[in-house]
Amino acid sequence: EEITIATVNNGDMVRMQALSPAWEEQTGNTINWVVLEENVLRQNVTTDISTGGGQYDVMTIGTYEAPIWGANDWLVSLNDGMADDWNADDLLPAIRGGLTVDGTLVAAPFYGESSMVMYRRDLMEAAGLEMPEAPTWQFIREAAAAMTDRDADINGICARGKAGWGENMAFLTAMSNSFGARWFDMDWTAQFDSPEWAETLTFYLEMMAESGPAGAANNGFNENLTLFQQGKCGMWIDATVAASFVTNPEDSTVADQVGFALAPDTGLGKRGNWLWAWSLAIPASSDKQEIAKDFISWATGPGYTTLVAENEGWANVPPGTRQSLYDNAEYLAAAPFAQMTLDSINSADPTAPSVQEVPYTGVQFVAIPEFAGIATQVGQQFSDALAGNMTAEEALAAAQTLTTEEMEAAGY
């Protein structure tokens, strides 16, 4: 039989596609791959699921979509029917929690990530500083300034600036958590007029202005990765999965100089790291749910980890989903960033992301359907501010207005 899988075109997924013939041979089924860029993928699967189009048997979704779609009963429960060796209890609790709706697991995590600081040990040393295990934002900002040498094309800090709820807003929302800010208060009132948000954004803008790369407002994950690999960044705060790319000597010119640290904080008790998992889910409209489950069991199960390790080496196995991986000595040896990743993931709490009380779940997002639309627009304001087209105050004011408008329209 044939199943259709929609997935995102990042490295791990493309690798899965490349290895999938193993599953096809094993089961005699075939797979139609629809590999798309993230935005296009979201366009496609969202349209499909909300109209019950039934085009896909497996969809790649994130921790943002899972709870919302799950709540609409659009996704098939993975509580049962999975392969025997697919051990749900092995999943990291933070990740599993994010994919569970009312006790039902609605998606299987393919890889999980949090965010952390990646830095250049050589530059840090040259600046006469030492990176603590758990730095503060203040330290990061000072270190960035010290490392910056624009003549040599070295920028102290690289961070996301490109507009989008999954781009700069992921970074800024996570960052704001550590500054004590929140999106909404308990009455679902937007909080961009709060001093915490002002502090967060001002800090971010000033730091980027002092030590960030030119054109930061267009940099997303990919752009920053390239910059870092080319040796143009002193520090980079981004997804933990980047660790394996920046330490891969084939692509990275600075592979042997990379150090890792937890995402920064301000001493308020929350760190600025997020939690995300690309996961595989089965839409309820699929008529090949059994086979789809079989595939998901294979792709997200321990067997796949071994398969990747055999073919591509341990450093390339999808990280951040299973405790067993972090108990594996071989993996720990091959991945110097493993412990840092695990610690980061474990330190994120989707149910209590901020220092203050919030009515929502989600670390770098708010798990309500309106969020993507709102956050993308807010992200555009912030990106504009980073590009120097408006001030922090203006950006926040605009964000406050539009969020309030949208939330009202949504009936909150």
Binding site: N10, N32, W33, V34, V35, L36, Q43, N44, T51
Partner: protein, 276 residues
């Protein structure tokens, strides 16, 4: 009566025109060159021009990762299919408008053209629901029909302008000679308007080929054309310029080659028949 022109002047114009032409063409040329570089050379500073180790690795990577032949086939079927279907519907309409104009002919034509201004997203949901209801989601036929409808106004308009240049007397002669309406169109009008029809076909194939909204949203696998193919290379982790270039070249090459081979017709087509 063209005036004789001195050679030095001609050389000057030649140099200038070639300069400008190459400048306009440059992005495509650069993409082409980049597609044969390694990822490292692709972003090297300063940029390298021709003197690098040419590699076809990017192409094989791209081919290995996605079903290019299927996408190509779909693109061809959809572009050609929608255009031909459009022509079949448009020829009679254009005949009527050009040779039996009534008071409202101009208005009908303008109305047709205005349907092109319908913003696609506005009708996305309805269309997806209809596709689902008719069970034609992800089918070539669906795309053929949708793209035909999108381009029909342009086809009608172009044919109309071409037909209007054909003297009505010839059709009357055919009628006197005993040709029925169908024969008049098949034996006289169509062959006479052939260059115009060819231009129309070419131009609409291009428009259909490049349509990137419906072709992405109404397809998954079976009917997915090159626009969807390119969407899987647009922003992978890391900046894979070389691979992106290779995929881009693969997506646009067929249509560019077609365009170049049919230059003359196409140039005519590109003027939308609007200017003689």
């Amino acid at each position: 009566m063209a005036r004789a022109i001195s050679t030095p002047k001609k050389i000057m114009w030649t140099a200038l025109a070639w300069g400008v032409g190459l400048l306009i063409f440059f992005p495509i040329l650069w993409t082409f060159l980049t597609s044969f570089k390694t990822e490292a050379t692709a972003i090297s500073d300063p940029p390298v021009w021709f003197l690098f180790d040419w590699t076809t690795e990017n192409y094989s990577d791209v081919l290995a990762r996605s079903n290019y032949p299927l996408a190509l086939m779909n693109s061809i079927i959809i572009a050609v299919g929608s255009t031909l279907l459009g022509i079949v519907i448009a020829v009679p309409a254009a005949w009527a408008m050009a040779f039996v104009p009534g008071k409202r002919t101009k208005d009908v034509l303008m109305w047709m053209l205005s349907t092109k201004m319908l913003p696609a997203v506005g009708v996305l949901y309805p269309l997806v629901l209809i596709a689902k209801y008719l069970n034609v989601y992800d089918s070539r036929i669906m795309l053929i029909v949708v793209l035909m409808l999108i381009n029909l106004p342009i086809i009608v308009w172009m044919l109309y302008t071409y037909f209007r240049e054909i003297p009505g007397e010839i059709l009357e002669a055919a009628r006197m000679d005993g040709a029925s309406l169908g024969k008049e169109i098949i034996y006289v009008l169509t062959p006479m308007a052939l260059p115009g029809i060819a231009s129309t076909i070419l131009l609409n194939i291009i428009l259909a080929w490049n349509e990137a909204f419906w072709t992405i949203l109404l397809t998954t696998v079976d009917a997915a054309p090159l626009t969807k193919f390119i969407a899987s290379f647009s922003a992978p982790e890391g900046l894979f310029y070389a691979k992106l270039s290779a995929a881009s070249i693969m997506a646009i090459a067929p249509i560019i080659v077609m365009g170049w081979f049919s230059q003359k017709q196409l140039v005519r087509g590109l003027t939308f028949g609007a200017v003689k």
